[in-house]
Structure formats: C-alpha cells, structure tokens
Amino acid sequence: MSKPGITTYLRPSSLEEAWSHVAPGDPTLRLLSGGADLTIHAPPEIATLVDVGRVLDRTIVNRPDGSIWMGAMATLTDVMEHPEIALLGGGVVPEMMVHVGNPLLRNFSTIGGHVARGKLSDVVPVLLALDTRIEFFDGEQQTALLQEYYDQGLHKLPHIVTGLSLPQLPERSAAAFLRFARTAFDFAILNIACRVDLGREQPDHVRIVLGATPRRSQRASDAEAIIQEQGLTSAAIQEAAVAARGEIWTGGGWVASSEYRSNLVEVLTRRCLQVVNERLETP
C-alpha cells in the first residue's frame, strides 16, 4: 500500500553521496535497503527514502583470516543458503533463518537493513552469539563488534551499515537457536542463541544471548561464566539456566507477561545448552 507521507525518493550512486544525505541526522529521512520494514511500518514522520541499493555490496566472500564477509545488501536468503555459513556452529544460521518471515520476505530483505533495525529479531541473537563484527560508514569506514554497536548506541547515530563479518569458529564449536512464539508466523515471545567452543577439557568460549525480551538482545554473562567454569554438565546447565533467569530483564505486554517471559528464560536456556551439548558430543 502506498505511503502517502513519503514524498522524496533519493538514489545515490556513491557511498559518499549517500552519506551526505544521512550525515545531518534528519529525522524525516530513512535509509532503504530491502524495504520490508519500511513498506509496512514506516513511521509517520518519514518523508524521504535514501535507497542504498546501488551503493552497497550484495556479495558474500571468504576473507583470508577465515572469516566470512557479508555485504549489507545480501538478502536473508543469500545468507541462509550460503554453503559455508550453513556449516557454522553445526548449522545454527539456517536453523534460525527458516523462522524469519517466509521466503517471500527473506528473498528481498537484507542482512544490513535487518541489523540496523535490530528489534524483534531472531537474527540478532545468533549473530551476537557468533561474535559477528559490523562494518559501517560514518564519514569513514568503521568496524566494531555487533555487541558494541548496540551496547554503545552506535546504531542510533547517523551511519550506513556496509557489511558484517562472521569469524571463523574453532573445530570443536557448536551453537543452537531456539524460539518460543504463539504461532510459527508470530514474532517470538522469547528467543535464544547459545554457543560453546571447547578447549582441551573445559569450554573456553561461551555465549548465551536472549532476544525478544522484548528489548534488543541481551547476553546472560553470569550464565556464561557458570558454563565456562563448570562445563556442560547437567548440574551446570541447570545452574546456568537459573542464573540467566535472574540476570535477564524481561518486559510484559499483551503478548506475554514479564513473569511468563522470565520463566521462559530459564526453560529455553536449559534446552538450548542441552542442544549445544548434544551437538558437541556428536562426532
């Protein structure tokens, strides 16, 4: 349906030209990459779209350091179907991505636009659990951990997301994604991504990220520390699940109460870590 409030459509031909529109921080202007969000949920104050489709990259490439770089214009389908991304952490990316809308949305929605939006996302917890780096332009090319991008409020400053980089995972690494929603089509009431890299005996890297709380994703640091210290024993998993429940803020609303979400934090943390453990034990 046409958005009558949108009166100007700009199509820059260079990153610098796009930046010249974005830099002043005009609240009536919005960057457009895929567009799925803006066609439906454009805030009423938006009058100008800056289409960056001709400026940003859509390719997904392997970098010499073993990381996989995704151009901001790569579609969610491009990411989901990439054969090497599909193997990361035991297949956590396609496992998650299949829950994001449907093919008719994933085939045009971009990873850059999705991350810049960041809210109500199944994608962001998984990217955070994989220690994804983000690259963006704010007059100069910048890079940061995606975690820093959100935690330091960089996502709220004028910028253009140019790409994301998934680091290489160690051989003994597994990840999992779980979500709980009223229906398959609905936004999650709560979701979680877990990742554990095994050292010689104990986990040497643990990520537990809960999203749809309904705020932007949060890491359960206390729970991560328990798994890192004690390993993936049944007792440690249970202890970590209880710790996650204690440290993760959950909000209430018409979809779910705060208490309900809080209970889900414990349940999904336990289940997610159990899945990771099973994957690590499977040769």
Partner: protein, 158 residues
C-alpha cells in the same frame, strides 16, 4: 516520478509516487494478476519473481524495482501462450478453486523448482509457507507442484 520497470522481458515507463510499492505500480499498469490481498506481507498473493526469486511485491517500493527483472504469471507462459507445466498441473490436480492466490503460488513454486528440481512434499510445503490459500487445504496444490517437478525433469509428459 517516472521509473523504468522491466516486466516479463519488456521495459516500460511507469509514473509512481515515492511511497508506492511495486504492487501498486504493477496493478496500476495493468498487471492485475498480481493480487492486492493484505498489502502487509502476510498473504503472499502479490508475489512476483524479482530476478527469479519470489518476493511479496507489497514489501518492495516501486522505485527499488528499477534495477531488477520482474516476472508476473503472464511472463512464465510460453511464447506460444502454452501453459507452463505448473499452470497445467495446477489445473489437472484440482489445485485451483477461486484462483485468487494461484498466480503467486505458481511463481513461488517456480522459484522453488528452479533451485530444487526434486523437492519433497515437506520442502514444497515449507517453501509455500508465505502463500496463503483460504479455499483449499493445500494438498492438491502440493500434488500439482510435485507433478510439475516431474514434468520439468522429463519424467512424465505435460
């Protein structure tokens, strides 16, 4: 604003507003096989192929589509107006009732079969998750897509 759309292999000029979706532009230019069901990304009736991938045209701004090849159901029919195997099997299998969702469903199935010529019923069902049909129970349509896949693989005649 004037934009240039490439639809079914032909370039044509379209006069659109900055906030118009591709769905708006296609219907205003005579492509009424692209259905305006929910205009909210939920029903899938407006799906078209954009560079060969099925996309809900209500989720794309019209001006964005300038750089892509758009295909509607008219574009997958053969040059001699012969039905595409998906159109033929959809009729033969009884997959069409009111018909409203069918053009989009066929285009989504065409996208699936292009990348997966031999999908399982589960894979067909999963790929059609964004195409709602309120008449059927999807069974006949999945039958039709399985049959079309066999035709396209040369295993049975059209």
């Amino acid at each position: 604003m004037k934009i240039l759309l490439s639809v079914n292999g032909k370039q044509q000029s379209a006069d659109v507003n900055a906030g118009d979706t591709l769905l708006d532009a296609l219907r205003a230019n005579g492509f009424t096989s692209v259905k305006d069901g929910c205009a909210n990304g939920d029903c899938g009736s407006c799906a078209v192929l954009i560079d060969g991938r099925a996309v809900a045209s209500c989720l794309v701004f019209a001006a964005q589509a300038e750089d892509y090849q758009i295909t509607t159901i008219e574009g997958i029919t053969g040059a001699d107006q012969a039905y595409h195997p998906l159109q033929r099997t959809m009729l033969d299998a009884g997959g069409v009732q009111c018909g409203y969702c069918i053009p989009a469903m066929i285009l989504t199935a065409a996208d699936l079969l292009e990348k997966n010529p031999n999908p399982s019923r589960d894979e067909i069902s999963t790929y059609l998750v964004g195409n709602l049909c309120r008449c059927t129970g999807y069974v006949k349509q999945i039958d039709a897509i399985e049959m079309a896949a066999s035709v396209l693989r040369g295993e049975i005649d059209d």
